[in-house]
Symmetry: C2
Subunit: 350 residues, 2 copies
DNA sequence: ACGCGTTACTGACGCGGGTTAGTCTGCGGA
DNA sequence: TCCGCAGACTAACCCGCGTCAGTAACGCGT
């Protein structure tokens, strides 16, 4: 026998070793409903074990199966990805949901606005894709949906006929502002988490406005400023707000942005929460350790990833998937909010 | 012609449409060094375009090619992943390095210590893997390396014969502490970023000790406390330190942990940097917006991911890969450090 | 007219495994 | 005795593509 390079064993090798046909091996290993005697089954299993046999995934897929792979496409810009403290959690959620059903996850982080990810699907490398942070006017995405590929959106994109999973931004923002109102605040500002072209920013702003209106307060233009993902933008927005209105509370639709906003308040010698209350949104891991610990809206990142993963898996297996799934958020009250000076002790009714 | 379900076109369809053989199609599409007349080449290209032809990746791989896929295995615990503010950047680095060479990335976030990831390689789904946060005593990893699969470590793991890419923890820590020394501090504490079983924690601690020794200071046992990834652990460690030594500076080997430590200092009414200087490590996006802005060691997360990705790609293409690559860090001086009270004005020589 | 090298292409096999349509054996019932 | 049938397997085809070993046509020098 000549020295041979170790070649990965194939099902034919297993068959030979067990003294059966390749077909039998396939039946045993895939638990097909065929009559195989227990003795033979055991021989095959043992041969496979001894040889360290692992089915060749591509061959299996070629033979008609699926790729058992999900694509996760991140459409956010590089800065957004870098600043997204919860992305890792969402990723864990998706991969775990996938693994639970025997799937893997290919991640595509598209740097610029380009990057053809459609090939993932068209080349049969993935059975479906999750689009995280879908952008308006994404021709590639529209084409994919039109061709009937399984696509699920994480986030929202009106006018696209694909299931989407998101957190309930509107409700979350509303609860945050309601909390501020319940503390007696009336002049409540808002700093958005992103430019309003982003639907999440729009939704959170709507929640803020709805809460005010329900309390009989008409939101003022001058109470609102735009943040843009990072702390510096929060600093700028807060400075802006400070310059044009006298607020007793602010709802900042992102913890990271709130971080910058609090910095601006500190520079202006306004104490939180004594002089002004601040509520954030996201509940990033560091939120509890801000100074002061930040009252914020908890965004279930892991669950979001898990839910979107499952939705995609359902679509792939042709199950019915709700057009739109909204995950609930939860208000986490910490120390950055307290009653407004005028109502500090006597709890005010309404 | 009967109504037929849209089937993905194959190279045979393209061949038929262009009036050539499948072989010719393959040659044209893969730019093989074969003599194909410009006219034919154009016909094939056009037929492919018209049909919307996309080669079937698994078939292509089966026919002898590689999977053109990298595996990225995250061995960190769920908490670590959640708290790792730089993970997203590293991920971007890896995926971009991969895409630049036509590769994709499958991410496996292993929740518990289990999770068989070896199958990624054995089933031919990936051509190689990056192991992020490798753990000692990982039998699966050892087996993979022994079998000669392309494996590159992100982080370090002594005693395993695989290339590794990491940042220079020791040098980074040393520079941080040297900075503190240059400001005149002498009683410098250290809070580790993680338990010392983690090599990165050990290396940073060594850098701290080396810097002190070079300055003729013998590090004291009582100056050192262990952190464990998150802010609360930093709070605990700082409280501990405060209770047993009188320090004028602290090197905290993780920004997140430093965040907790600063909270503890605040509780103890010790001002930063007036009473005590603090240097962090990692330079997470929020570090610049701490109160005070944190002096820290910048960890090039994107570059790290990129470098480890390239190292793996090199290994896959059988290029020579250095046994160990260390990326340089950079000290970023902000406002959490300044000269010790005793040396505030007169700059002290030594 | 013939040999010989290019140029331009094609036939057929193999990659590894799933699957359908059998084959062969043994046995119970009519 | 012979049919029918269930149990236990197997031969052969197919998935889509890369690739080696040809083959046919053509030009060219002698």
């Amino acid at each position: 026998m000549v020295a041979m390079e170790a070649r990965r064993p194939t099902s034919a090798d297993v068959a030979a070793r067990a003294g059966v046909s390749r077909t039998t091996v396939s039946f045993v290993l895939n638990d097909r409903p065929a009559s195989i005697s227990p003795a033979t089954r055991e021989r095959v299993l043992e041969a496979a074990r001894e040889l360290g046999y692992h089915p060749h995934a591509p061959a299996r897929q070629l033979a008609g199966g699926s790729s058992h792979t999900l694509g996760l496409v991140l459409r956010q810009s590089a800065q957004q990805v870098a600043g997204d403290a919860l992305l890792a959690e969402t990723l864990r959620g998706v991969t775990n949901a996938a693994r639970a059903r025997g799937f893997r996850v290919i991640v595509e982080a598209l740097d610029p606005n380009d990057g053809p990810y459609a090939d993932l699907l068209r080349s049969g490398r993935a059975d479906g894709v999750v689009i995280s942070g879908p952008r308006l006017g994404d021709r590639e995405l529209e084409a994919l949906v039109a061709e009937g590929f399984p696509v699920v959106l994480q986030g929202s994109l009106p006018g696209l006929d694909a299931p989407s999973v998101d957190i309930d931004n509107r409700a979350g923002a509303k609860v945050a502002v309601a909390h501020l109102l319940s503390l007696g605040h009336r002049r409540i500002g808002c700093i958005t988490n992103a430019p309003l072209a982003y639907t999440a920013a729009q939704e959170r702003l709507e929640g803020y406005e709805a809460a005010l209106r329900e309390a009989g307060i008409e939101p003022q233009r001058t109470w609102i400023a735009e943040g843009a993902f990072d702390a510096p933008s929060g600093h700028r927005a807060m400075t802006e707000l400070l310059g044009r209105s006298d607020l007793d509370a602010v709802f900042v639709a992102s913890d990271v942005v709130a971080f910058g906003a609090i910095g601006a308040l500190r520079s202006a010698h306004r104490r939180v929460p004594e002089d002004i209350s601040v509520v954030g949104f996201d509940d990033i891991p560091l939120a509890a350790f801000f100074d002061p610990p930040l009252t914020t809206v908890h965004l279930p990142a892991y669950e979001l990833g898990h839910a979107v993963g499952e939705a995609l898996l359902d679509r792939i297996s042709r199950a019915i998937v709700p057009r739109r799934t909204l995950l609930p958020t939860e208000l986490v009250v910490r120390a950055s909010t307290r009653g407004s000076p005028s109502t500090r002790s006597p709890r005010r009714d309404h």
